[in-house]
Symmetry: C2
Subunit: 251 residues, 2 copies
């Protein structure tokens, strides 16, 4: 849900004495909490459950699920390690969170979390930035759902995965698709058949190359061309405090 704070991953080793020299990060709030394991397919919480906790994903992938009316399902996002899920001001969750793979999380009571945020002024802009990142992602997704063709949606999705979880070496990305076709379809506003057909088509055209059971490999810029939003920096890494200029012509 919330964009990972990549910049904090390589935090200098520093032992947690009480709020003293520790550079406070959102992750550090959860640091002391025990790790819980969620089996693949089971839910961390359901839509409309009382929103008592906030979770940090340590490992694995969650899907964020909403059901409307007559059982139609939509996945509004996937949650990756480093992300938080369950943040809200309502007293009930607006969505469910289910494990796509076996997932490890840390739990924090919402009230305690709020207190923590209020106590540490350094934390607030970070939380705020995450909300803004998530908002930006939601707008991207709206653009995808409102405008893009099935093929463009799939390419956008693969690029998203590459950015969030993929192994990238010199403009070639290798991604794993742990979620089912149904999950992908519900995320992209398509049917499983359309997802399947377009994956086949992309493979046939050599735009993506299957690697192993659920893996694919592709050239980032070639797929970016097919993703629709050829806007300058939309496909590059976020310009939060980095400026990455990797952008050539063609191979």
């Amino acid at each position: 849900m919330f964009a990972a704070e990549r910049e904090y991953q390589f935090r200098p080793s520093n032992v947690t004495s009480i709020a003293a020299a520790t550079p406070p990060t959102l992750a550090s709030v959860f640091k002391s909490q025990p790790i819980e394991t969620i089996q693949a397919g089971s839910a961390l919480f359901w839509e409309r459950d009382p929103a008592k906790h906030i979770f940090e994903v340590v490992e694995g992938v969650l899907r964020v699920v909403r059901i409307i009316g007559d059982g139609r399902r939509i996945i509004t996002g996937f949650v990756f390690p480093g992300d938080l899920v369950g943040i809200s001001m309502k007293d009930r969750y607006l969505y469910g969170a289910e494990a796509v793979t076996v997932t490890k999380v840390r739990r924090f009571a919402r009230s305690a979390f709020q207190e923590k945020i209020n106590q540490c002024p350094e934390l607030r802009p970070k939380l705020f930035a995450r909300l803004c990142d998530e908002m930006a992602a939601a707008q991207d997704q709206m653009a995808l759902l409102a405008c893009k063709t099935a093929e463009e949606r799939l390419c956008s999705f693969l690029l998203l995965l590459a950015r969030r979880t993929g192994a990238i070496s010199k403009s070639t990305a290798t991604v794993d698709l742990p979620m089912t076709r149904q999950d992908i379809a519900d995320y992209l506003g398509l049917t499983i058949e359309t997802v399947s057909r377009n994956m086949t088509k992309l493979t046939a055209r050599g735009m993506i190359v299957p690697k192993g059971r659920h893996g694919y490999q592709f050239k980032i810029d070639r797929l970016a061309l097919l993703a629709g939003d050829d806007d300058a920096d939309n496909n590059s890494y976020d310009d939060h405090d980095m400026v990455v200029g990797q952008r050539f012509g063609r191979p």
Copy 2:
């Protein structure tokens, strides 16, 4: 963009009676700023402009616009009086804001706004709540775009307008549609023709009744039935810092 703070208007008296003298609201931050007028059709700011200011809409309607790739346009939201627009942590706006009608706004420098927020601890949860509300709205919109039929989208849209701007008297709402069909189409991920046809169809069925130039009248619950998300409370007002225990089943 940000949902109006309805919840604070009718706050029950038993809750937090902290600041007696000045109840600080987000609106009060802008109170002292001069009012600027934007002509219909012109922009308050453009996508990718340096994000120097935050605006409060006092009167009128703005549309929030994004352009992807080859000129496809999407409207991610409309901004009504009481809402804020332009909030972000990036240094450039992720979207443009254009006046649908003549619009009056108050402007506030982003840096000054941030400072204000940091100074007033009462303001922070309110800003936070707005972000969360907006996030919830974005998720609703994703569900709409991913799942709903053209007719359902239009009904949802009319209900949204009724909630935000409409005159409601005993289950009958009267709304004004100041935006063009093109705006509606770009908001709902449809074409103007589809919008037009479905409006005609709804009118023919007597589900909505034209009132004046751009106005329509309808029974809220009848339209809610057609809006797709027949979820219990989706169309009701939000239960912000109230704990409503409406939930039987069994614990």
